[in-house]
């Protein structure tokens, strides 16, 4: 089983000018790897990260969008799989980090920890679907996954992480939103 921060470090080696959408624990671990203007953390309601990512993908077809969504978050917005597959943005990579818990809300389990998100994404009509549970395999495949024509879906099976500190004031600082918008206008 992988760890989320290990996966993100592997992913970050291949990320340059992509827009990365993340919330809660994923946002904390992604931000720990470094500040960048093209991070999109200001999503406002759990479950909508994938919908924000779809909006970005539709609005900026010239850029690639990476959505790092938690499993609890995706469960709140399962219909997005069908919406995204139908809209079919070829620049969207949708990763769900599956640790089986609502980690930011006390680490209670999700209703069914064995739920198969990759199967759902495949059935919904994503162009490419992957599942990773071994870090070496993910490290080897990450660059390929990020370059595929989307919508691409990948489940990252990870352990529960160590307790995180959620500095929401920092994560959702309006200055970040302004910096993102400015960065998008500049590129």
């Amino acid at each position: 089983m992988m760890k989320r921060d290990q996966c993100f470090r592997a992913l970050a080696r291949h990320v340059s000018d992509e827009i990365v959408v993340a919330t809660y624990s994923s946002a904390v671990d992604w931000l720990a790897l470094g500040e960048r203007a093209l991070n999109y953390f200001s999503v406002g309601a759990m479950g909508l990260d994938s919908s924000h990512a779809l909006g970005l993908a539709l609005g900026r077809p010239d850029k690639r969008i990476i959505c790092l969504q938690g499993d609890g978050s995706l469960l709140m917005n399962l219909g997005c799989l069908v919406t995204i597959a139908a809209a079919a943005p070829n620049n969207l990579v949708h990763m769900v980090v599956q640790n089986g818990t609502y980690e930011a809300n006390g680490s209670h389990p999700i209703p069914n920890t064995k739920v198969e998100f990759a199967a759902m994404a495949r059935a919904a009509g994503y162009a490419h679907v992957h599942e990773f549970s071994e870090l070496a395999n993910f490290e080897q495949q990450a660059a390929h996954v990020l370059k595929q024509d989307g919508p691409v879906f990948a489940t990252l099976h990870v352990e529960r992480s160590k307790p995180l500190t959620y500095d929401y004031a920092n994560l959702y600082d309006p200055a970040r939103r302004a910096a993102l918008k400015a960065a998008l206008r500049a590129t």
Binding site: V43, A57, G59, C80
Partner: protein
Amino acid sequence: MDADLLTEGDDTIELKGSSIIAAIKASGVEFILSVPDIVTSGGLLRPISRDPAFKLIRVCKEDECIGIASGLSYCDKRALTLIQYTGFLDSINAIRGVAVEYRQPICMMIGLLGHDPSTTPRNSPRYGVRIIEPILDAMGIPHHLINEDADVAKIHPAIEHAYTTSHPVALLIGRRPSAS
């Protein structure tokens, strides 16, 4: 009479779908995000679905629209969320978080299913319709009733204001727009 049962033939006051669509276009809206609503189905959604000037994104649940519109707004793309009031009620938390607290220009066109257009939404025979304007007021979201052709002139300035001030707005469709 239950307004659900009103047909275009019963209703002598006009609200032309084509006028509303023209106002949406004039507002620079490129994306329509929608779950079908019987109030706006024939007069708005169907012609929009055939209009190459729009990119129609059909979503599974209305709160998806709020996220998608927010993402688009970061790309300086304008979107209109076309939903029924029930979908608005279902999306309250998304609207609270994304549109209000994060001050995003989320423009919603909301069909008031079951509303009697001869009265105001606050006096609607439908409980669900009666609570819409008070909820919008409590959330600080400006709203405009589009009940007849003369009201269509409110649409362009309302959307323009939403985008220039980065603030949500609700356009309440009080009767079924005609398909012409």
